[in-house]
Structure formats: C-alpha cells, structure tokens
C-alpha cells in the first residue's frame, strides 16, 4: 500500500515539533516494533538461534583438532585440551594413499556435474517458458499445468525405468566416445547431467514462466512490429530482462544438484570418475563412521561451496524462494 503525503497547514514551530517528536519516537515501524518485541521474545529467539548454530559450530571446531583429541575429548573442552592442525584437511583432500578419502577427485566431479546442469536446465527452461508465455497456441495452458504438477511427482517414480533406458541408449554412446578419446572414461558425466536436467526442468519452467509472462506485452509487440522473430525477441528482450529470475533459479539448481545424493547414487556408478562429494561422504560415514578426524574435515569441504553461494547470493536465493512459493 502506498500513501500520498498530505500537506497540512501548520506554522513552522509545530512542524519542527512534529519532526522532533518523530525523531525521538523513530518511524512508525520502529514504534510498532517497540511494542511488539518484548524481552522474552528476544531471549527465546536468541536461544533458538544458538541451538541452531551449535551442531555446525562443533563440527567446524572439531575439523581443526588432531585425531587423538577428536576421538577422546569433546570439542567443548577445547580450552582444557587445546590443539590445532590442518592435517585433517590435507589428508582428506590430497593424500593419495588408498585408505584415505581422496576428496580432490570428487570435488572436481561435483563441480563438473553441477555447472553444466545449471546451464542446461536454465537455458532449456527459459526457452520453454517463453514459448508457453508468448507464442499463442492451443493447449499452452494444459502443458503448463502438467509441467507444474510434474514438479511434485517424486523423482523416485522415474529412477528405475530411466536407468534402464540409459543403459540401453546412452551407455553405447559413452563407450563409443571412450574408444575415440580414451582420456574420457567410459563412465562419463552424461547420464547424471541428463537426469539432473530433466528433474530440474519442472520447477525451472514454472518459476521462469511466472516471471516471463509478466513482462509487458507492449515491448514484445513493438519488437514484432519492427520485424523481429521469436528467436531475436528471446535473445534481445526476454533474456536480458529475466536476469534476476534466471539468477535465482540458477542458485536453486546449483544447490540442489551439488547437495543431491539419490540421483548421483543411481546414475554415477560410484567411481571416482563421476561420483560427487555427497556420494563419497555417504560412503565414508557408512564404512568408516568412527574416523571423525576425516569425517569432520570432509563434511566441511562439502559444505563450503554451498555456504559461499548461500551467503554471497542470499538475496537472489530468497527472491526465487518467495517467487516460487507465494505464487504456487
């Protein structure tokens, strides 16, 4: 709601008093705030925030403690049992001994899976969203509703047949590529890329369509009158105007793919050639669940990228979240 300011006929003295009064009281929002936030509320929210942060904090502290200290004393006794080391990180990332986690390769895999998928899904979804919003044809409404509904279908429904199809159709191509370029392993990223792109499309099309369909029609009409076809309109008008929502979705997709475990387990084959960090971590907790000096450091390495993305781009992330959830 917006208000038009009303000029009230007042003498200067009263005006000044008003201003002073407002300054002392603060703005309207501040006055409301004062009455609504009690001391109890502040304390309760502080307690919740502390409870929420403690588990991560404990893991973070522990990842810098030497092995024998992690395994014998709690991280909260850090002042009684001081110790600091970077060996845990060094070992999980770079050690090449066969018993160590060798996370370097998996870290590269996570990046090599995530980046292309973000590009693929965003571009394909933007094209589809444009067609659904601005190329009039019969059935556009229905296609959109089906795509929207697909968003909620559990991807578990698709896994088994999709894997069978990939084994029949994609695997021979992967073998063929491997024969020509031996440096590319037989088990390549293609399957994971395709699976992730497909699973990301419904949300992507929905989010982008909401935004793209709100672009003023006059802009597109004007371009058409000037003789632009759909390809040009898409590249020159739609894409530049949609940058905020494209960024929001790209962040979503990035986090979702980086953090995924299920799709990776099914389609990666689990080799260091393809498997992402999450899969390796899950393996480590299963096999060597007591090696806390490794687990803590390894977990933090997998968290660091999403946390950087999250804290630096939180604004876009929240915008996408709200666009997706308040309209759906």
């Amino acid at each position: 709601m917006t208000y038009t300011p009303v000029e009230i006929p007042l003498d200067d003295e009263t005006k000044k008093e008003f201003q002073r009064g407002f300054n002392a009281d603060g703005t309207k929002a501040a006055r409301v705030k004062k009455r609504l936030t009690s001391r109890t509320a502040t304390i309760v929210s502080l307690i919740i925030a502390v409870i929420w942060i403690i588990p991560t904090f404990g893991l973070f502290i522990s990842s810098f403690r030497p092995e024998e200290l992690i395994k014998t004393t709690g991280w909260w006794t850090i002042f009684q049992n001081p110790g600091f080391t970077l060996d845990n990180y060094k070992e999980v990332l770079f050690s090449s001994s066969s018993s160590s986690p060798q996370l370097g390769a998996y870290f590269v895999n996570s990046l090599a899976i995530t980046i292309p998928v973000v590009v693929f899904a965003t571009v394909l979804a933007a094209m589809a969203a444009y067609a659904l919003a601005w190329i009039p044809f019969k059935g556009a409404g229905w296609i959109f509703i089906v795509i929207f509904a697909l968003q909620i279908v559990p991807l578990q429904m698709a896994l088994i047949p999709l894997l069978q199809m990939f084994t029949t159709w994609i695997l021979p191509i992967q073998r063929f590529v491997h024969d020509i370029i031996p440096i590319i392993p037989e088990q390549s990223y293609v399957q994971v890329w395709i699976a992730h792109t497909i699973f990301g499309l419904p949300l992507a099309i929905f989010l982008l369509h909401n935004f793209i369909s709100e672009i003023p029609g006059e802009l597109i009409e004007a371009a058409r009158v000037d003789g632009a076809n759909h390809g040009q309109i898409f590249l020159r008008i739609i894409l530049p105007l949609s940058v905020p929502i494209l960024a929001s979705f790209a962040i979503f997709q990035f986090l979702w793919v980086w953090n995924d475990l299920l799709v990776a387990l099914v389609f990666s084959g689990g080799t260091p050639d393809v498997a992402p960090l999450t899969q390796r971590l899950a393996e480590l907790t299963g096999n060597r669940g007591q090696e806390w000096q490794r687990l803590t450091a390894a977990a933090f390495i997998s968290l660091i990228v999403p946390l950087i993305v999250f804290f630096s781009l939180q604004r876009y992330f929240v915008r996408g979240l709200l666009a997706g959830s308040t309209k759906g």
Binding site: G74, Q156, I160, L281, T326
Partner: protein, 323 residues
C-alpha cells in the same frame, strides 16, 4: 586423481557445454531461416520441444512404467497386488510405513511452529537479518552434510570415558548414562526427524517472515488501540494475514519430508527400525534387486503426494482465472 583424469574431466565439462551451446545456437539460427509459411509453428516447436521431449522421456514415461512395474515381480511377470500385500503385511515394511507417517506429521508441524514463532519474534528487531541467516543456513547445505553434523552430536562413548557427542555429554551432566542413540528404537527415528526439522525450519522462517511483513502496520496498531494483548493480536491479525503462506510452507515441507532419503541413508542406512518409504524404495530397487517392490513403494509415495498436487493445481487455475 592423476593429471590425465583431471584433463579428461575438464574436457568433458567444456565439451558438454560447447555441444549444448552449439545445438541451441543452431536451433535458434535455423528458425530464423525457416520458410515464411509455417514459421510460427516451427518456432514454437524449436522453443518448446526440447523441454517437453526431455520431460516426456525422462519423467512422464518412466513414471507410467514404474506405475505398471509395481504390479510385476522380479522377472517382469504380472503378479497383481502381491507387492502391496508384502508392503502392508511384512513387519519391516510396516515399520517403514509407520515411520513415514511419523515423519510427515512431525516435521511440517514442528518446523512451521518454530519457524512461525521465530519469524514473529525477530520481526523488526535489531539484527533481524543475522538471525534469519543463522537459522536459514542449514537449508543451503546437503542432507548428507547435515547427517554427519548430527551424527557427531549423537556420537556415543561407553560410560566412564569422555563423551565426544554433545547429546550424551548433556546426559552425563544430568547424571544419566550415555545412550547409543542411533541404535535405540524408537528414539532414533525422532532424532533423525530433528535433523530434518533443523534443515526445514529456516525455509519456514524466510517465507513466513516475508509474509508477516506484508501485514499493514495500521491493522496491528488498530488492534492495539482496541486494547488487545500480544497473543490476541497474533491470533486475530497476524495469523489470518499469513494463511496463504502457511499453507505453502506446510505443503512444501510435507512433500520434502515424504521424499526424504539422504538423512536416513547417511545416518543409519535405514537400519535399527529407522527406514522410510523413500529409503526403502532405493534399497529394494537397487540393493535387493526387487524392482517390483521398489516401484510399489514409489507408487505409494506418489499416492501420498497426489492430494497436494491436486490442491496446488486447483489454486493455480484459480489464480489464472483471476489474471
């Protein structure tokens, strides 16, 4: 990882993106050159077909196949409802269903209640942004990472030795004996649920907080002038004002909870009576090599989210009519 491996990976990354860019570029280029007659149709196909074909092949068709496979056995023969009979009679499968129900009742309710209280408490307070970031952060990290973080909290050391898990240390401080938390049913399911609540509450806070900000300050002030106390203002002004957002939060978290897999997989592997439908689906289909049972479990998952899909589609269509 050798240098050759690394080069191979970079080659794949660059090659994959380049091929994709080339294909999309060619499509956009050729629809420019298309004959005038039927150009609109060609353009429509060029824009829409890639996504629709991918979704059709990769999601719709497999989902239908899974629906059919749910009524077949290992070798693909039709066996009627046997897979479902197994699901609703075998004790282990029943525990799985029971756990899923506990999850889907507890996680959305508790996350939403904590999220609502928190969003309300921090609204317009000093440091609101920092408060929000702190509780929202778990939402950005993986379930696997969250699983490890909490596994460390639940870690057990025999009595008499120093505890390294915070929860058992608290037990010791309270004069209790430490517990093998993750192996002790039914407590372990609750402890896994706490992890999911920890992750999802931030989402509730962000959406509800934005929605609370949408309530005009005048309404709150008017209610205050009428002599209401804080609680009355909350139930009579704030709650009705954010009803839509509440529904979105609860349904979104419910769907996420029904699909939860990674937390259970990482923390207990579904052992010790902690399995849920999504995890059991994976175990049956890809570990026990019983695709029929796996499909049946996936189908149950779909049936459980179906009401939410129908509801959302109806809301969406109503919104479209308003526009």
């Amino acid at each position: 990882m050798t240098t050759a491996d690394l080069i191979g990976k970079i080659l794949q990354l660059v090659g994959g993106v380049a091929i994709f860019a080339a294909v999309v570029g060619l499509i956009l280029f050729f629809i420019d050159k298309a004959p005038k007659r039927g150009r609109d149709v060609l353009q429509l196909i060029a824009f829409l077909a890639p996504a629709v074909i991918l979704l059709g092949i990769g999601l719709v068709y497999p989902a239908i196949r899974t629906g059919i496979a749910a009524f077949a056995n290992k070798s693909g023969e039709f066996i009627g409802l046997d897979n479902f009979v197994w699901m609703f009679t075998q004790p282990e499968a029943l525990i799985t269903l029971r756990n899923t129900i506990i999850w889907v009742i507890l996680v959305p309710t508790i996350s939403t209640v904590i999220g609502l209280a928190y969003a309300n408490f921090i609204d317009r307070s000093r440091g609101e942004k920092i408060y929000k970031s702190l509780i929202f952060m778990p939402f950005a990290i993986s379930f696997v990472g969250a699983g490890i973080i909490w596994k460390f909290v639940y870690e057990y050391r025999p009595e008499g030795r120093d505890q390294i898990g915070l929860l058992n240390q608290i037990m010791v401080w309270l004069g209790q004996e430490p517990v093998l938390w993750l192996q002790t049913a039914p407590m372990n399911t609750i402890l896994l649920i706490i992890v999911m609540i920890w992750v999802q509450t931030g989402f509730a806070v962000v959406v509800l907080s934005a929605s609370i900000k949408g309530i005009p300050a005048e309404q709150l002030e008017a209610a205050e002038l009428d002599g209401t106390n804080g609680w009355q203002r909350f139930t009579n002004v704030v709650l009705p004002g954010i009803r839509g957002a509440l529904v979105v939060v609860v349904t979104t978290i419910s769907i996420a909870t029904l699909k939860v897999f990674d937390i259970v997989r990482t923390m207990t592997g579904g052992n010790f009576e902690t399995s849920v439908v999504a995890n059991e689906m994976y175990t049956q289909a890809f570990r026990a090599l019983e695709p029929g049972r796996g499909s049946a479990l996936a189908l149950i998952l779909f049936v459980l989210v179906l009401p939410i899909v129908v509801y959302n589609v109806r809301v969406l269509r109503k919104q479209k009519e308003i526009r």
